[in-house]
């Protein structure tokens, strides 16, 4: 029996969990995958939007601006990577200047600070690779980039440190009301709670519809991305959007917090809620559209492509609040872009709602800060040597592309809510994230995972479930 059951361990679920752990509540997060950050949060643009995009007066606009404002302090409290690099919405056609102006005005109304229209000369100075067709741009200095994995994991680890329980590989099959509580039926048995928070991403409508006759509908909107090697770091330094208009929506070109260059996303509405496959057309579209805003994109430096799903609710608005006719069941649904940016504000809002309903008291033992993983690259040569003398594993490089040591991989595995799979290690350490895409390090990482977890290497998966990497031993079928 829990006070609160949160469904989903993505950025929304974990932000809610952390903010709720400020109160004297017993909390459990149910996640169908083997780790946090396995759905929408793991594959998106990783942008902290300034807040000029959402329609004035919407919850989306409000939480976007609030989330953006809170991000810096949060990133320090929870120790994840965040940087305000500024964004540019580029206008490519003179006749669309009124649209750019309208975007500027909307931003002002939404409360975005520091917005400025800049002319071509200044634009070229800021971004030398900007397209020759560029006319002007809207500059938003508060826009930023964040590590979505780092942020999600930080929230989860801090929540766990404050007593939140996490149940992985736990998929919700049904929810019913019983004796004034919610019974959540899963593949791992039943969980009972006074309150339920529905943060199920692309499945939030399915979960919602289990308890409400007022149906919700979410469309998985797939977006393909291409990621370029760090070797072309600095190709762009700001997040570059194309002004949406009659010439289409365009794609963004942005640096990531780790120095890669990211291009994407496309937008295709699909049926399959697990349909994270890239397509030939999608990848071609990306590169064509990126070419509209920047020139000379070094496409030979693409190291991987991937697709993510946005949880697009029909009304294109965040659906946050207690569900009518379902007392104590709180939706946190329709969290698509700017969901990542808004997460801090979403967490606070949901926690506020539950706290009121539950009449919860503050938790005096709440720990508001969390220390992230040790990154030896930030140490001086002397400090690093001292670290290695104490723990030699920090001197053994496992991932040569991202220069990740065995010590860091071990840390990632042994932390609370530690990595269980190759992807888990990758999201926590960047081992396997580089230009060889785990070609060299995966056998080593498998070995370390197996050793630290005390299992046979054949038990190690890429990302849980049936994603086994080794299927047997040589000649076992002969």
């Amino acid at each position: 029996m829990y006070d609160v059951i949160i469904i989903g361990a993505g950025i929304s679920g974990c932000a809610c969990a952390r903010e709720l752990s400020r109160y004297k509540l017993s909390i459990c997060v149910l996640e169908k995958e083997e780790d946090v950050c396995c759905g929408t949060t793991k594959a998106n643009s990783a942008i902290v939007h300034a807040g000029f995009d959402a329609a004035c007066g919407t919850l989306m606009a409000k939480l976007n601006v609030k989330g953006n404002q809170d991000m810096e302090e949060l990133s320090k409290e929870l120790d994840f990577s965040f940087k305000r690099n500024g964004s540019l919405v580029v206008c490519l056609h003179e006749e669309e200047m009124p649209d750019l102006e309208a975007l500027y005005q909307r931003g002002i109304q939404n409360g975005v600070k520091g917005l400025r229209m800049i002319d071509k000369a200044e634009l070229v100075k800021l971004e030398p690779h900007i397209s020759d067709d560029a006319v002007a741009a809207l500059y938003a200095p508060t826009s930023g980039i964040v590590c979505p994995f780092g942020m999600n994991i930080a929230y989860a680890e801090n929540a766990a440190a404050n007593g939140v329980q996490f149940q992985f590989e736990t998929e919700v099959a049904g929810i019913r009301r019983q004796d004034g509580n919610w019974i959540v039926k899963t593949n791992q048995g039943e969980f009972e709670g006074r309150f339920v928070v529905n943060a199920a991403g692309v499945y939030a409508d399915t979960i919602h519809n289990m308890v409400s006759t007022k149906k919700l509908h979410i469309t998985p909107r797939r977006g393909d991305y291409c990621l370029l090697d760090r070797s072309v770091e600095g190709f762009v330094t700001h997040t570059i959007f194309q002004l949406p208009g009659k010439y289409g929506k365009g794609v963004l070109v942005t640096p990531t917090i780790h120095g890669n260059t990211l291009v994407g996303p496309t937008a295709v509405d699909i049926e399959d809620r697990e349909g994270t496959n890239t397509t030939q057309e999608g990848l071609e579209e990306l590169l064509e559209k990126a070419g509209r805003t920047v020139k000379g994109l070094p496409i030979r430096q693409v190291i991987t492509s991937f697709a993510g799903l946005r949880a697009h609710e029909d009304g294109h608005e965040f659906v946050i609040g207690e569900v009518e006719g379902a007392e104590g069941f709180i939706d946190c649904a329709g969290i698509e872009s700017p969901g990542l940016t808004s997460a801090p504000a979403i967490g606070t809002m949901v926690a506020g709602i539950v706290k009121e309903l539950a009449h919860a008291e503050e938790n005096p033992d709440f720990i508001g800060t969390r220390k992230g993983m040790l990154d030896p690259k930030t140490l001086s040569m002397e400090e690093r040597t001292a670290l290695i003398k104490a723990k030699p594993a920090y001197g053994n490089i496992v991932c040569r592309c991202e220069m990740v040591s065995e010590g860091e991989v071990i840390d990632a595995i042994n932390r609370p809510l530690g990595a269980k799979s190759l992807d888990g290690v990758k999201r926590r350490t960047r081992a396997g994230m580089g230009r060889c895409q785990a070609g060299f390090c995966s056998p080593r990482t498998i070995e370390i995972l197996a050793r630290e977890r005390g299992v046979h290497p054949s038990e190690i998966t890429k990302s849980g479930k049936e994603s086994k990497i080794i299927v047997g031993v040589n000649k076992d079928a002969l």
Binding site: S231, T276, N396, C436, K462, I470, N474
Partner: protein
């Protein structure tokens, strides 16, 4: 700070041959830095035979071939550090390294030999659409799992790319009990050696589909199947030619990329064709005292040629140390070697008649398959070499030999041209 006359980055076949040769040519202070736990490099996972036919007139396995050079290096008392990663090399040749024993420290080198080898082109760089399940490996990763760890990465296999590692792994996976259904190759010809096509595919009845590629990968957790389609002359998939192969594994053998991130950080200029440094006939890059050899320079088919080139690089690095960068014989300028029709690149890029040995081997690759063609070398308008080749293919490295006296006859030569001429 530690100081060595020559620091060699990489203890594979190139690094070892360079070290042994530099020692033979009089340099005592040599250090080899190897990131793995043993010397030998990628040869340690190449347990098939066929290595060393040129060097030792024997068919050795990869580890045996490496063993011969490790033995020579030990005998010559070449110093080396294992499990040691080079993090950075500065322009003034300060090498920053790290290992679990000594921590992080710097080494001042007088000369540096780059011998870091290459990596495989990954799925991402190929832009193959589809899901990203487990079961997709570069052929070399699978080779490591099978040959060094004894693990089978899959049972029903499709291979994309007919590079040598892919061909070798088609045979290896078959021998270990897996079923290899097909090898698909984007190009109209294989990138592998003829002998591997015969011994690894034909002998095991594994079909090779030229001008085919993977257009979709199915399976969310583990690969369930891949779709292969024929491509047109522009290498675009032809609609309607798709075939679905149920399988649990996709191996990729789609090319090797010299690993030159370190080289670039120290200002070494790379040839976009090979992704390896431009070098002169001493195997010296544009950065004085920095040499390159082996697969970091250009990807080889045969390790024997790696050893030869590396020995030459080691010898010239030793001369660089001896003459402190000023070779006494050099009066004339370096002559550029210009690849023309059919020749994609040459190693070296320039040659100096004063400094060169009595003869020097120029290595290169052709851009497509040629039958009954001639490799021609021109000094100005004069054709000095006209060598008949019944067949020349991109998968087999070509060579011509330049003799010193050829150049002595033509002073003030502005360039040397190499091209393929069809009969």
């Amino acid at each position: 700070m530690l100081h060595y006359d020559i620091v060699i980055v990489g203890g594979g076949p190139a690094g070892l041959a360079a070290a042994v040769s530099a020692k033979e040519h009089g340099v005592e202070s040599i250090l080899v830095l190897e990131r793995d736990q043993e010397l030998g490099g990628i040869l340690n996972q190449c347990i098939h035979n066929g290595f060393g036919l040129h060097t030792f007139q024997e068919e050795l396995t990869g580890p045996e071939y490496a063993g011969r050079f490790i033995e020579q290096a030990e005998k010559a008392q070449v110093a080396y550090k294992l499990n040691t990663m080079v993090l950075e090399i500065s322009k003034d040749k300060v090498v920053t390294v790290m290992n679990g024993k000594e921590g992080m420290f710097e080494i001042q080198a007088s000369a540096v030999i780059l011998a870091m080898g290459c990596r495989e082109r990954a799925r991402g760089a190929l832009n193959i659409p589809g899901y990203r399940p487990a079961g997709i490996y570069s052929a070399g990763t699978a080779q490591r799992l099978v040959n060094m760890e004894g693990f089978l990465p899959g049972r029903q296999v499709v291979i994309l790319g007919s590079g040598d590692i892919g061909l070798i792994m088609a045979r290896r996976m078959t021998l270990e009990g897996a079923k290899v259904h097909v090898v698909a190759e984007l190009l109209p010809y294989s990138g592998g050696l003829k002998r591997n096509l015969v011994q690894c595919l034909d002998d095991f009845n594994i079909p090779l589909k030229l001008s085919h590629t993977v257009v979709d990968i199915d399976g969310k957790d583990r690969v369930k199947g891949v779709t292969i389609a024929k491509v047109d002359e522009g290498r675009k998939p032809i609609s309607g030619t798709e075939t679905y192969y149920p399988c649990d594994t996709l191996l990729l053998s789609c090319g090797l990329i010299p690993e030159n991130e370190l080289s670039q950080s120290l200002g070494v200029e790379l040839n976009p064709v090979t992704s390896g440094p431009f070098v002169n006939e001493c195997f010296e890059t544009n950065v004085e005292g920095v040499f390159a050899c082996g697969n970091v320079l250009h990807v080889h088919d045969l390790v024997d040629f790696v050893s030869k080139e590396a020995a030459s690089a080691g010898k010239h690095a030793a001369a660089y140390v001896k003459y402190k960068g000023k070779h006494p014989a050099v009066v004339s300028k370096d002559i550029p070697i210009v690849p023309e029709s059919g020749v994609r690149y040459t190693v070296p890029k320039t040659i100096n008649p004063d400094r060169m040995d009595e003869k020097h081997t120029i290595r290169f690759r052709v851009d497509k398959v040629y039958k009954n063609c001639y490799i021609s070398v021109y000094l100005g308008k004069e054709r000095i070499i006209y060598k008949k080749r019944p067949i020349a293919a991109p998968g087999e490295m070509e060579e011509v030999i330049f003799h010193k006296e050829l150049f002595q006859a033509v002073p003030d030569l502005s360039k040397i041209t190499i091209k393929i001429e069809e009969a």
